[in-house]
């Protein structure tokens, strides 16, 4: 009875997880394909820069990151702070930072003495932005002293984890369901073995073969 119960719930979980994650899977699949084939013509797009000058007041915060956050609030910019004072701002500017969203980057240089921020918004084409959804959760943490500081990327990174765990759960559930169908076992073993051998070739085989 307990085994039948597992079969029943496992089948349901396989269907429901698959349906819930359907669009997420399509997004990561298609964006992965785009990232692997950046030479495709429709993917290539020239970014468009829009520059402006905005008034700002000197923030109360004294650390670079806190000042960047304050200036973002003043300029009504939202997104992930990607780099603060890297590279160092050129005089007469006192602060430089960039803010990342999937479809556009915002570069801000601030001269607090004059109370002016030079803002450059670099907007990418749709497919570039779409492909960046694939990497946006990790790009904010690649590098020293970098962390996710925007709630959207924090939520997105949780979704990415959930998707990965969901895929693993669906795989385990799918293998369990297949094993319950006795007439399908033989061909299934052949397919699974072929997959395991070809995948192992890349994961461990190449290192063993070419050492």
């Amino acid at each position: 009875m307990a085994r039948r119960g597992l079969t029943y719930w496992n089948r349901k979980l396989h269907i429901y997880l698959g349906l819930y994650f359907l669009l997420f899977l399509w997004l990561f699949a298609v964006s992965g394909l785009i990232l692997n084939n950046t030479h495709w013509t429709f993917v290539k797009s020239k970014p468009v820069d829009v520059r402006s000058e905005e008034p700002v007041t000197t923030p109360a915060a004294t650390d670079d990151f806190g000042m960047a956050q304050d200036v973002m609030r003043q300029l009504d910019i939202s997104g992930e702070i990607h780099a603060v004072n890297r590279p160092r701002p050129k005089p007469p500017h006192d602060l430089f930072f960039s803010v990342v969203r999937a479809q556009y980057f915002t570069f801000v240089q601030v001269n607090f003495d004059e109370g002016v921020a030079n803002v450059r918004v670099r907007k990418w084409g749709f497919w570039s932005g779409f492909a960046r959804l694939h990497t946006v959760a990790s790009m904010s943490t690649r590098g020293q002293n970098m962390f996710r500081d925007w709630w959207m990327t924090k939520v997105w990174s949780v979704c990415v984890d959930a998707l990965a765990i969901g895929v693993l759960a669906m795989l385990c559930g799918g293998i369990y369901m297949w094993w319950q169908i006795k007439p399908k076992r033989r061909v299934g073993i052949v397919c699974l073995s072929l997959g395991c051998v070809s995948c192992a070739l890349f994961v461990i085989g190449l290192r063993a073969l070419f050492t």
């Binding site: 349901k12 269907i15 429901y16 997880l17 698959g18 349906l19 819930y20 359907l22 669009l23 997420f24 899977l25 399509w26 699949a29 298609v30 992965g32 394909l33 990232l35 692997n36 950046t38 969203r101 999937a102 479809q103 932005g129 779409f130 492909a131 959804l133 990497t135 990790s138 690649r142 959207m152 990327t153 997105w156 979704c159 990415v160 984890d161 998707l163 990965a164 765990i165 895929v167 693993l168 795989l171 799918g174 293998i175 297949w178 399908k184 299934g188 397919c191 699974l192 997959g195 395991c196 070809s198 995948c199 192992a200 890349f202 994961v203 461990i204 190449l206 290192r207 070419f210 050492t211």
Partner: protein
């Protein structure tokens, strides 16, 4: 119609089983990348050489790198080969999943040293996840095995698209699962749209 259903179900099963190890690679490496894990970062680095090599008069960096690593008996995917005239050296990174070698050639003496690091299995998964990726366009896939992986990575996407589409079809046939299935699909779509719009616009 019944034959179509059976074919779809069987293909969903066979292709899903074949692809499952590849999906494990992508899922596990996704979690590692998402948490900025760098497995094997502290793996020891071994340096060998110096070995005398012939530096060919070659403009193409890939051919230059290939020629030099062949003399050293090394094989793998070349990274960005750098000529550094100011330092009088050529740096050639060579990657095999889970192993990284950096060949440095002193152009004044033609002596090459090889620094080898083996960060291991998990690092190999992360490397494969990023390959071919958006960087090193025109350079990546310069080793047969990694070119084959590139094709596998693309094929993985196409098969995933088939698996999901066929999965949706197989679900629609199950009348008993429609209601809850629609709720799951709707909930997924809503959370997807909210998040994607938030990140994009």
């Amino acid at each position: 119609m019944k034959a179509f259903y059976r074919w779809t179900r069987d293909l969903h099963l066979w292709l899903g089983l074949f692809l499952s190890p590849f999906l494990v690679v992508y899922a596990v490496s996704t979690i590692l990348i998402n948490h900025n894990a760098t497995p094997g970062r502290d793996a020891p680095e071994e340096t060998s050489g110096p070995v005398l090599v012939v530096v060919p008069d070659e403009e193409d960096r890939i051919r230059l790198g290939r020629d030099i690593i062949a003399q050293l008996g090394i094989t793998g995917e070349l990274g960005g080969v750098r000529r550094m005239p100011a330092q009088q050296k050529i740096v050639i990174p060579v990657n095999v999943p889970g192993k990284r070698q950096v060949v440095t050639v002193d152009t004044t003496t033609s002596l090459a040293t090889v620094a080898t690091k083996s960060p291991g299995f998990l690092s190999g998964l992360v490397y494969l996840h990023f390959a071919p990726g958006q960087h090193l366009v025109g350079i990546s896939g310069n080793w047969f095995w990694m070119r084959l992986w590139h094709w596998m990575a693309d094929a993985t996407v196409y098969v995933v698209l088939f698996l999901t589409a066929s999965g949706v079809y197989l679900w629609t046939v199950l009348k008993a699962e429609r209601k809850v299935g629609l709720i799951c699909l709707g909930a997924g779509a809503v959370s997807f749209v909210v998040l994607v719009c938030g990140l994009l616009f």
